[in-house]
């Protein structure tokens, strides 16, 4: 298994939407390398004939009546919004330069 390179980390931090300084990238590259080495052994034991478990106690067909349940009011929803306007969340431009 390949350890995580600094370049990988730059890419991952973009995917995860976390800005990182150069110093942070340097430190985390080393730390993640150690962690990935320690956990890579799982791929040795997991052969193709073993089924995957996504959930410890599988429940299937968890259904309910298709009716409106208890919901929050608009005021409650917007109570913690960093910014809002006319009952909507307000955010900066979605696209560059617009």
């Amino acid at each position: 298994m390949s350890a995580i390179s600094r370049e990988d980390l730059v890419h991952l931090s973009r995917l995860a939407h976390i800005e990182m300084s150069g110093a942070e990238l340097d430190k985390m590259t080393g730390e993640l390398g150690v962690i990935v080495d320690a956990i890579a052994s799982v791929s040795e034991v997991a052969s193709s004939d073993i089924p995957a478990t996504s959930h410890p106690i599988p429940l299937t067909n968890v259904l309910r009546e298709d009716v409106v349940g208890q919901t929050l009011s608009i005021d409650e929803v917007l109570l913690n919004a960093p910014d809002s306007d006319s009952n909507r969340f307000k955010v900066p431009a979605i696209l560059d330069g617009e």
């Binding site: 980390l9 800005e19 956990i39």
Partner: protein, 517 residues
């Protein structure tokens, strides 16, 4: 009431305090005030609480007292624990009190709704003392990764109280609260319980609703009780457990007979119970003092009539690896919602174009601490194209292997036993530059989360003047068994010592803490 009696109140178990409240020997207002006074006295040194909810707690206490004083049907209908105060891990959302998850991301956030467990606590009228400290978003084993300062271990203020639920464990261990709620994703209830000499239970996955617990890793997270006695945890799990339509992973059936199992265990008779000692969860990697206390407990259990059998779970050596792939993967997904758009803090980039993407990047850079960032990045990596099958896919297969190991072990034994943590509480700062060393502290607790099975930690004695925890595990849905075995060991050990372990905790010397730099 004279002063020494008031200070004795905080040392009662929740069950004892509840009996005194029902008998009218003491009022809930007096009991709650005694705990608030204790918080005022020692929490400057411990930092177990992030928020103290004094006004509401006293109001609920006064309401319970008024109902009891009036008598009649309403008094009879009160929950047996009504009026007994409780502390809440600050990962569980509460109306009217801040919920931070110990993160800067949620500083000042007020939940518009209550978690289901909080609704149940309100309905039963347990006054909530406040919100307890944790590792940020429950990620850590030491409570050092809180954005609001470390919590200290009441047994030794230079040591960690465990994590992530170090605040709840320290609050209960230091008599600031008789009960607390915790959450356990890889041991966050049980490992703090072990290192603070208290009791903590991770119920069967789905046994207690997770609705309103801020999600860390949804297939592993479980809310559970924290207390000083096994019986108290049983009472609390019966109060908070049961099906919840708001949590689609909640079990359809309520897990019953927990209090009865704890009471039956406390008789100390274990005839007919088969207890499996897990070969892989002892010996190498476990401190000598931890191993010694563990072996003493086995002797006592044997003496009480239990049959001790050795069981092997060979795939447990892969549990830590599987956990550190599955958990961060789920973390990276669950924490994507903290983006500064709908709630939580928004941070603007210092320069350049003001786009939503850059605002998210700046918000998450400023809002999350190092450990949270590490896990989000690790999870993003494990789920990314080219690595998914090798990492996340393999980890899910290991999860199957571990479940099969437990199935085989439970064919030979009714419950399994191990030390809860391989070491006593380590020193604050000891693992600052070595995240992996901290992760290893959860090696004995993680397997239960991967398999969804219940686990309890009970105090097993001291090593280096610090508590050691003993863990029992049972098959899924058989939570009653961990209460029976746990209560039995608790009773046997207390009989052999002539006292409870927590009564041996030293007085908390607030003056010994160096002022914060």
């Amino acid at each position: 009431m004279v002063n020494n009696l008031v200070s004795d109140l905080i040392r009662l178990s929740a069950t004892e305090l509840a009996a005194k409240l029902r008998a009218g020997d003491v009022t809930s207002v007096v009991a709650v005030q005694a705990h608030l006074d204790r918080i005022a006295e020692v929490d400057g040194a411990l930092n177990a609480f992030l928020h103290v909810n004094a006004e509401e707690a006293l109001a609920v206490a006064a309401e319970v007292d008024a109902i009891r004083a009036a008598g009649g049907a309403e008094a009879e209908a009160l929950h047996p624990l009504a009026g007994v105060p409780i502390a809440i891990k600050d990962l569980i959302v509460t109306k009217g009190q801040p919920t931070t998850a110990a993160s800067k991301m949620l500083e000042g956030w007020m939940s518009p709704y209550d978690a289901t467990v909080i609704e149940k606590i309100r309905a039963a009228k347990l006054p909530m003392l406040g919100k307890t400290n944790l590792d940020e978003f429950a990620m850590g084993s030491s409570t050092e990764h809180s954005a609001y300062g470390v919590t200290r271990n009441p047994w030794n203020l230079d040591r960690i109280p465990g994590g992530s639920g170090g605040g709840s464990a320290a609050a209960v261990a230091s008599f600031e609260a008789p009960l607390a709620l915790g959450t356990d994703t890889g041991g966050s209830i049980r490992q703090p319980g072990a290192v603070t000499g208290t009791v903590g239970v991770k119920p069967t996955y789905g046994g207690v609703s997770r609705y309103g617990a801020i999600a860390m890793a949804s297939s592993l997270d479980q809310i559970g009780p924290v207390s000083r006695t096994v019986l108290d945890s049983a009472h609390l799990q019966e109060l908070i457990g049961g099906h919840d339509p708001k949590d689609s992973t909640s079990l359809p059936k309520t897990l019953e007979g927990l209090v009865a199992a704890a009471e039956s265990g406390a008789t100390g008779d274990l005839k007919g119970l088969r207890i499996g000692v897990i070969t892989e969860l002892q010996g190498e990697g476990y401190q000598a003092g931890v191993q010694a206390r563990f072996e003493e407990s086995l002797e006592l259990l044997k003496g009480a009539g239990a049959e001790i059998v050795e069981v092997s779970c060979p795939n447990l050596k892969y549990a830590l690896g599987a956990y550190y792939l599955i958990m961060p993967s789920e973390v990276s997904s669950n924490l994507a919602k903290f983006d500064g758009v709908r709630y939580g803090n928004r941070v603007l980039p210092e320069d350049g174009a003001l786009t939503i993407e850059r605002v998210m990047g700046a918000t998450r850079a400023a809002g999350f601490g190092d450990e949270v960032k590490r896990r989000i990045i690790l999870g993003t990596y494990a789920l990314s194209a080219g690595y998914y099958d090798a990492y996340y896919g393999s980890a899910q297969k290991v999860r199957t292997l571990i479940q099969r190991d437990f199935d085989a072990a439970f064919a030979q034994a009714d419950v399994l036993v191990s030390p809860t943590a391989p070491t006593v509480a380590f020193e604050l700062g000891a693992n600052d530059n070595d995240p992996l060393a901290m992760y290893l502290n959860d090696v004995a607790t993680i397997p239960a989360n991967l398999a969804g099975i219940p686990g309890i930690t009970v105090p097993g004695g001291l090593s280096e003047d610090l508590p050691v925890g003993i863990q029992f595990l049972a098959p899924a849905f058989e939570d009653a068994r961990v209460y029976r075995a746990g209560a039995a060991l608790e009773a046997l050990l207390e009989k052999s010592w002539g006292h409870t372990l927590i009564s041996q905790a030293p007085a908390i010397d607030s003056a010994s803490i160096a002022p914060k730099a």
